[in-house]
């Protein structure tokens, strides 16, 4: 019953989405407020029905109803409750349902909180949103229905892939989807603006908070996924340049560019055409990511499906939306009015440079992701493009970008003074150079690049601090004045500083981890001691334990340093009987920002066990960086909310337009 109800709710959501696709559009043509307002109610109703459908699937999974194929294939009655719930999106059908649910959620939010939007703009935005939704509802209903029944229900399910039975699955996909799908809003706004043929600074002010929300979630989602891969896959890597990871990185790069160009548009009414194009490209890259992951063209940890009909269907959606939106752009973009002037050396100029480097870096990642596929199809040979390629291409471009980051926020709008900014950044530059010298002296003979990169990271962080210090008059003015100014500083200025500092923090973590990571791989017998980076790890013994749906073998290590006992680490190896597969549960010991990492291999005939021990210096900074960036985003968002209501006169004028 529940499965059928869920299915039915999804069909109703499709019907509502189809109404929402056309009626408000027609309403906007006829300037009929009643028809335009249909968008609002259908968007909310759509959210209600998709939500019901999603809850139905969750209920089926929680109840372990194995008469439903999706539950049978991905669940097990003995599975802990949390994984029964997260298992809903740990498979193709369920994750697509989550995708459309989040799409409907964003549509519903625009409908509910978009009261300050001009009526026709809101109608257009929600219509475009409904086009996307309709396409994906059709995709789910035709090729990936999660509510299909099995004629002869089995007694027990096949269990979820053990690698996915982890708390990471509860957080990573929803976060990532909130980011991916969130960019659909800026896409819809862009298409709506092209259809209306009218775009101004107010448009950017409406779009920016939505872009920022999507960007915050995408940032956290990518960081979370990276940390999950780090501890779950058992060999300590945190980024593999895997096509699926690239698929999430590309919208992030384009989305970051979009955030910055929307800023120029909002403040200076310039870069309009470019911002529209970026909005389209960002969501197109999200769709491309969905295609790469969902169609199975690339086989990797995340590729759940390899059914060609699905691939072809998503490819059609992809072509339709990217092709359609770009043609609309090509036809309409010239009609958009040119914006304000600015000199190349100015805040706008710096943001243009930021956009250039980000989009080019994104293009490089796109090339690296698609080139092997293209070669396989066209030239019929296989190859892989991995870290060495990106180290030679992506890394230099990003280094250039980071070098420019501290200059941007300090340049004035319209016409900047590069020399003055350089002087003000002198302290930050000196800090960077001192760190380079110290690190270089300390690690004599090592790679020359690592100290330089760490110095760059310090420069970026110090630059962010300098910006705030300059604005508040720190050390120049009395402390009370500084405090007063700091309180009066717009939240977005703090947001910028935190986000930029986050970049530097992540860079330092990345460089330290990759350069000074130490590794110890050997077979160990009980009472053997391994020495890694000054730590002594003694294997106490091995014990077996029965988990809810697995058996696990635990190795117990006593960790000490210089004779002082520190902690006990217990890595384990779990074997899941239902799927006949095993996972490695690494043990982590955090010391400041560094971590000790142990994962287990096989037990040999003599009772010894293969172990892999890593010491990863400053590794946690890799993820603190994105967390700082996201925090900066949240600060900026809280500022935005206060500002969104500000330009009342303009809004009142636009409100009147439909009635003219």
């Amino acid at each position: 019953m529940i499965a059928e109800a869920g299915h039915y709710a999804l069909v109703l959501a499709l019907a509502l989405a189809l109404i929402q696709s056309f009626v408000p559009m027609i309403g906007a043509r006829l300037r009929d407020p009643a028809l335009m307002n249909v968008a609002r109610s259908t968007a909310l109703a759509q959210l209600l029905f998709v939500g019901a459908s999603f809850i139905a699937l969750v209920t089926l999974h929680v109840n372990s109803d194995f008469s439903v194929a999706n539950v049978y294939e991905n669940s097990h009655s003995m599975k802990p409750l949390i994984y029964k719930i997260t298992g809903v999106w740990g498979n193709h059908e369920g994750s697509m349902l989550l995708w459309v649910s989040i799409l409907a959620l964003f549509g519903g939010l625009v409908a509910a909180f978009g009261n300050n939007l001009p009526l026709s703009l809101r109608a257009h935005v929600l219509s475009v949103q409904a086009w996307i939704a309709s396409a994906f509802y059709l995709f789910i209903l035709i090729t990936s229905n999660p509510f299909l029944r099995i004629v002869n229900p089995p007694i027990e399910g096949r269990d979820l892939n053990p690698v996915l039975q982890d708390i990471g699955l509860a957080v990573h996909p929803p976060m990532l989807y909130l980011g991916y799908v969130g960019f659909s809003i800026s896409f819809s706004f862009a298409i709506a603006a092209l259809i209306e043929g009218r775009i101004d600074a107010a448009w950017a002010r409406w779009v920016r908070p939505w872009t920022l929300v999507a960007w915050i979630f995408l940032t956290l989602g990518i960081a979370m996924g990276s940390y999950w891969a780090y501890y779950e896959l058992g060999w300590g890597g945190w980024w593999f340049w895997d096509p699926v990871e690239n698929a999430s990185l590309m919208p992030w790069l384009a989305g970051t560019a979009l955030l910055h160009s929307a800023l120029v548009m909002e403040k200076r009414n310039a870069l309009k055409v470019w911002t529209i194009l970026l909005s389209i490209l960002t969501f197109s890259l999200s769709l491309l990511g969905t295609f790469l992951v969902r169609s199975g063209v690339i086989t990797s940890v995340h590729a759940f499906a390899n059914d060609p009909t699905r691939g072809v269907f998503i490819l059609l959606i992809l072509c339709l939306f990217i092709g359609g939106s770009l043609s609309l752009f090509a036809g309409r973009a010239t009609a958009l009015k040119q914006g304000g002037l600015f000199a190349p050396i100015s805040r706008e100029g710096a943001l243009v440079l930021n956009n250039l480097l980000l989009t080019v870096a994104c293009a490089v990642v796109l090339f690296g992701t698609l080139y092997p596929l293209a070669m396989e199809v066209l030239a019929d040979f296989k190859m892989s493009v991995g870290a060495p390629f990106y180290n030679l291409t992506f890394v230099p471009l990003f280094a250039l970008l980071l070098l420019a980051v501290p200059f941007g926020p300090m340049l004035a709008w319209k016409r900047g003074d590069l020399l003055g900014v350089t002087q003000r950044l002198l302290a930050a530059g000196v800090a960077g150079l001192v760190v380079i010298a110290i690190v270089w002296a300390w690690t004599r003979g090592g790679s020359a690049l690592a100290p330089l990169a760490i110095g760059l990271g310090v420069f970026v962080i110090a630059g962010a601090v300098t910006d705030i210090a300059e604005r508040t008059g720190l050390l120049r003015l009395p402390f009370a004045t500084t405090l007063h100014r700091a309180r009066g500083l717009p939240r977005s200025a703090w947001g910028t500083a935190f986000a930029h500092a986050g970049l530097g923090v992540a860079l330092i973590g990345i460089v330290c981890e990759t350069t000074w990571n130490s590794e110890y791989i050997a077979t160990m017998k009980p009472n053997d001691v391994a020495q890694v980076a000054g730590y002594d790890l003694k294997l106490d013994g091995l014990l077996e334990r029965q988990g809810p749906n697995y058996r696990e073998m635990i190795a117990q290590f006593n960790v000490s340093r210089g004779g002082d006992a520190l902690s006990v680490m217990t890595p384990s190896k779990r074997s899941f009987t239902t799927r006949g597969s095993s996972t490695t549960e690494a043990a982590l010991l955090t010391r400041g920002a560094s971590q000790l990492y142990i994962s287990l291999g096989d037990v040999t005939a003599e009772g010894a066990i293969a172990v892999r021990i890593y010491h990863k210096p400053m590794v946690l900074m890799i993820w603190w960086g994105p967390v700082l960036m996201a925090f900066g985003g949240v600060l900026s968002l809280s500022d935005r909310r206060l500002r969104v209501g500000a330009p009342k006169p303009a809004r009142a004028k636009q409100r009147l337009q439909p009635a003219e």
Partner: protein, 169 residues
């Protein structure tokens, strides 16, 4: 500065960045991409020792030997040719004899493939896509590898596909 000059500066800057990126990509393409080969392709093409590539095939049953200090040797076969592989380290959870494997490394002077990475992207019903495609092309594709994926009822078919997630490196 006029609008035209401004535009020219931006276009010039863009072209410079694009040219830089293109140069970087072309340079990287020369030596940082890794090709995929099967043992047969290795035998036919006479791959130079020291040239990095990815080797894919099935682990020859009975060929796995463990030495001291986590050294392992095994053979990768694709039906018509075999290639000995040496690796030092922990094999992935899903590494098994008779199943698909992808190893990355280079040949040494004796014709042994020294692997520094071993990937086993499969479980009991699945093998790496690269390996499956290569075997199919050579006509060594045994029906039983694909039977569960192509035959059977709809739920059974999606089951085999649902299993393809087990990627461990």
């Amino acid at each position: 500065m006029t609008r035209k000059q401004r535009r020219m500066t931006i276009i010039g800057g863009s072209l410079a960045v694009l040219a830089l990126a293109a140069a970087l990509v072309l340079n990287a393409l020369r030596d940082s991409i890794v090709f995929f080969s099967t043992p047969t392709m290795v035998a036919e093409k006479h791959v130079q020792p020291g040239k990095r590539f990815r080797l894919g095939g099935l682990v020859q049953p009975g060929s796995l030997q463990r030495g001291d200090n986590l050294a392992v040797t095994f053979e990768v076969a694709d039906g018509s040719a075999k290639l000995p592989v040496a690796y030092k380290g922990i094999l992935p959870d899903l590494f098994r004899e008779g199943q698909g494997v992808v190893a990355e490394g280079a040949l040494d002077a004796n014709g042994v493939f020294k692997a520094d990475t071993v990937l086993a992207k499969h479980d009991e019903t699945y093998m790496p896509k690269d390996v499956a495609d290569a075997l199919k092309k050579q006509g060594h594709w045994k029906d039983d590898y694909g039977a569960q994926a192509s035959g059977g009822a709809k739920p059974a078919a999606t089951t085999a596909q649902g299993n393809s997630q087990g990627a461990v490196r």
